[in-house]
């Protein structure tokens, strides 16, 4: 270790190997069999359970917990995965405190929900560790489907379509499949290459070909028309590849937080990844938290999130905010960036204090500067290039309830499509439901 947390600039190796290991270990270690039994025993097996209603994929939570309680975790896993094929990842990354666990009736009685996320992980981990894939394909239909994007929406759609007997080709822009699971979420939420293991497990269904490094519209790859010519139907699940611009002087000095996170996720040896001594993250969502926390865990001396509105308005959940604060990330609210300045020895980000008025957010004359070695922006992502003929709404692909776009034979889901929260679990639900509608269409129903 040649560098320390106090080494100026942007340098790698600020920590000892043990510190890297500890910092990027499982943030929520799995339940062992006894812990799972105790946790499962707390479920009341509610009628028409509120947790189930709160789950975007409508997993039958009381049933799977009862299956764990009675010693059949693989049956529990099948209950989960039948609704949500990425139930393993969702068990790790879902904001359960605002979904299933937030609506658990134990919140009402004791303020402590059944640990649904941890139990879901217990069941799905067991099935995956056994190497079992509990679903089989229907007889071949002779139909072929293109899925654009190997993220949660695309994988979910592809699996469901393959299960119904269709031949699926996934076209994905990145070198590895998984989308945000592989490149986007915080490392400590899914360590030990879980994302790629889950994709490999999912593909065991068969009938899915994955083509990497293929970007729609890029010369040499293909267009939507090409896909429509080669396949009977197309599902678009390419997520949001663009990032919002700050539109400020010096913004070229900032790095999109998504790039930082993607680089981190793909770095085998984290001691080789340079990180600033002082890191500033602009934004207030999950991506801002993930970037700021991981900067701190990589050894940044200070990591500061600056959000333009009040803390209560932060898109990041309270649980995420607490996690950040627990990792000694600093949080400054009601401050909007004005400019980024290159100064001797690094950067300075200039912020203006803000106030919320009836007319919206207003920057005040009161400004301050934060020193930074690295500035990450996490102010939202945008849809990348889309075929001109497809109808958009609110900056996203317009879809109906079943994921149908304005174009015949084209469906969309996940973050690139309108509707739903931009969550892994929502993308899985949308991919699944679009696949069911595509199946009906393909079978002429």
């Amino acid at each position: 270790m040649t560098n320390s947390q106090l080494t100026p600039g942007v340098v790698p190796g600020r920590l000892s190997p043990q510190e890297y290991d500890a910092n990027f270990a499982d943030v929520a270690p799995p339940l062992d069999a006894h812990e799972a039994q105790v946790a499962a025993d707390r479920c009341y097996f509610c009628h028409d359970a509120p947790c189930m209603t709160a789950c975007p994929t409508s997993i039958d939570i009381p049933l799977f917990i009862r299956q764990i309680a009675t010693g059949t975790p693989e049956a529990a896993a099948k209950t989960i995965l039948g609704q949500n094929i990425l139930g393993g990842m969702c068990a790790r990354v879902c904001p359960t405190e605002t979904l299933c666990e937030g609506d658990c009736v134990r919140m009402e009685s004791e303020g402590k929900p059944v640990e649904i996320g941890a139990l879901q992980r217990f069941a799905t981990d067991r099935l995956m560790a056994a190497g079992k894939h509990p679903f089989t394909r229907a007889a071949p239909t002779g139909k072929s489907v293109a899925v654009v994007g190997a993220g949660p929406a695309g994988l979910s759609a592809a699996h469901r379509l393959a299960m119904h007997g269709h031949e699926v080709t996934i076209y994905d822009a990145r070198p590895k499949p998984g989308g945000l699971n592989e490149y986007g979420i915080a490392s400590y939420k899914a360590p030990e290459a879980f994302a790629s293991a889950e994709v490999a497990w999912l593909l065991q269904i068969g009938g899915i070909t994955v083509m990497q490094n293929w970007q729609m519209g890029r010369a040499g790859d293909g267009t939507l028309d090409d896909l429509l010519a080669d396949h009977d139907a197309v599902f678009l699940g390419m997520g949001l590849s663009g990032v919002n611009a700050l539109n400020l002087p010096g913004e070229e000095l900032a790095i999109p937080a998504t790039d930082f996170i993607a680089a981190l996720r793909q770095t085998e040896d984290l001691s080789t990844l340079p990180i600033g001594r002082k890191v500033v993250v602009i934004g207030g969502g999950m991506t801002a938290v993930d970037a700021a926390v991981q900067a701190k865990l990589l050894g940044a001396e200070t990591s500061t999130i600056v959000y333009r509105r009040s803390q209560g308005e932060m898109p990041a959940s309270e649980h995420e905010q607490d996690h950040a604060l627990g990792c000694n990330v600093r949080l400054i609210c009601n401050a909007a960036p004005v400019a980024i300045h290159a100064v001797e020895g690094g950067l300075e980000v200039e912020f203006a204090r803000t106030e919320t008025t009836g007319a919206g957010l207003r920057k005040l004359d009161d400004t301050f500067r934060l020193k930074a070695d690295q500035v990450f922006t996490a102010i939202g992502q945008t849809l990348g290039a889309t075929p001109a003929e497809i109808r958009l709404a609110g900056g996203k692909i317009a879809v109906d309830g079943a994921g149908r776009t304005s174009l015949s034979r084209v469906w969309a889901g996940g973050d690139c499509a309108l509707g739903g929260e931009d969550l892994t679990v929502t993308a899985v639900a949308e991919g699944r439901d679009a696949a069911e509608d595509m199946h009906k269409f393909l079978m002429g129903e």
Partner: protein
């Protein structure tokens, strides 16, 4: 603090909590620890005749039933009577009784069904200074196959005969321990009384198989791939025991016969319930086996607090107090009408009442879109299932006042009336149907 001192068939103890004849009372070491922990009395684990003692299995001798969080609800055992030499037990009994003169020490006995065997052992027990004997006519496993234990307890004539032998051959009080593995517990109790028993104690364990190993396809506890029925005890058997105690307490033939209540007593409340149904004291085993001897301290403090709250000064004020309230179904008031009421402030909206009522009862609970659950009085038969399954105890039963109309039947709540006079009862004078031609 209430006075918990107890006198049972002349045997005094500082409280009514005794340890039952069972594994916890097999040795001096355990019994001393029990007394130190606060137990009022002990029934020493059953002694057999002089000579080579019985042997026990050296594999698992207990099976278990769990509730949530592995809470022990019931244990079954295939252990036999003491497997230690008679003289060792007698020596230890004498030693313990000498050091704890204020505690009750009763010796459980099981010897072959002949007078000579009983004549032989009684003086030996008397010589220890023990306070009394309990005749084990209850163990359902192992010894029964040898003509002892429940093999005697299932034949009232044998109970009477052996009890008489005992009473003729000792000055010690004699408690007859009854088996529940019979059809009508009043018969063996009556037999014990006829034989001169000073008291009965019940229940001994219930014949049972707790579980089946689904890999080896054998009952558990499993000994070398095989299993056998054992005696079941613990909280799960309490309702069966309470009923049997009540049946003896309210039976004219046995009314007034002292009863030592046994069967799943785990807390002070369980003990008070047994006593209210006629038990003069209680005996405990499974609670101690599950949690250790210290549980008696909660029983002591709990019963004291309860008695203080009720203004009772002696446990005798509890004993038998509920017996007059135990009746036969035909005398229950058919004009007593209640309706379930859900306290909306306390309801956590789990919907278990709804599922239970909708699927298995009378469709008397409505569920609206925001998961508010309300009782439909016009459907509610007051079965109490919703109260039973509610995890937060937010449902109560409201009694309809006399003269109030029951929305379910459209009839006004009237005066007490039972089945014996009901017009639907073919035996009643007011029978409304056609009687078969004579």
């Amino acid at each position: 603090m209430a006075d918990l001192r107890s006198e049972f068939v002349g045997i005094k103890s500082p409280n009514p909590f005794w340890l039952a004849s069972a594994p916890p009372t097999d040795k001096e070491y355990n019994v001393r620890r029990a007394y130190e922990a606060g137990w009022g009395g002990v029934v020493w684990k059953t002694l057999g005749s002089e000579g080579p003692p019985v042997v026990n299995v050296s594999g698992p001798r207990y099976g278990v039933i769990y509730g949530a969080d592995r809470r022990v609800l019931g244990i079954n055992n295939i252990e036999l009577i003491t497997d230690r030499p008679l003289e060792v037990n007698l020596r230890e009994i004498k030693s313990v009784k000498r050091d704890y003169p204020d505690r009750a020490l009763v010796v459980s006995l099981m010897v072959p069904c002949d007078e000579a065997s009983w004549k032989a052992i009684l003086p030996l027990v008397e010589e220890t200074g023990a306070d009394g004997v309990e005749l084990n006519f209850g163990c359902p496993h192992g010894m029964a196959e040898r003509g002892m234990g429940s093999a005697v307890g299932q034949v009232p004539e044998y109970i009477e005969m052996v009890t008489r032998w005992v009473k003729q051959n000792t000055r010690m009080p004699c408690i007859v321990k009854l088996t529940p593995n019979i059809t009508d517990v009043r018969k063996p109790a009556e037999a014990a009384k006829r034989g001169g028993a000073d008291a009965v104690s019940l229940i001994n364990t219930i014949n049972s198989i707790t579980s089946v190993n689904l890999d080896d396809f054998a009952p558990e506890p499993m000994i070398d791939g095989m299993g056998t029925h054992g005696g079941y005890c613990g909280p799960a058997v309490k309702p069966i025991a309470l009923n049997m105690v009540a049946e003896i307490a309210r039976n004219a033939e046995t009314a007034g016969l002292p009863i030592s209540g046994i069967g799943g007593v785990t807390t002070w409340r369980d003990a008070a319930e047994f006593m209210a149904l006629g038990a003069g004291n209680v005996q405990v085993c499974t609670a101690a086996m599950t949690y250790g001897f210290k549980v008696v301290q909660e029983m002591i403090s709990g019963l004291s607090e309860y008695m203080d709250r009720k203004g009772m000064v002696s446990t005798s004020e509890i004993v038998g107090r509920a017996v007059p309230k135990v009746t036969d179904w035909q005398y229950l008031n058919l004009n007593y009408v209640t309706k379930a009421v859900i306290n909306q402030d306390d309801c956590i909206k789990c919907g278990r009442c709804y599922a239970a009522c909708e699927d298995t009862s009378h469709q008397a609970i409505a569920m609206d879109e925001d998961r508010t659950f309300t009782v439909k009085d016009e459907e509610c038969v007051a079965c109490n299932l919703c109260v039973d399954v509610c995890p937060v105890d937010c449902i109560t039963m409201r009694e309809l006042a006399k003269g109030e109309t029951d929305p379910r039947t459209g009839r006004e709540v009237g005066d007490y009336a039972n089945w014996t006079t009901h017009p639907n009862n073919p035996s009643s004078a007011s029978f409304c149907g056609l009687r078969p031609a004579e």
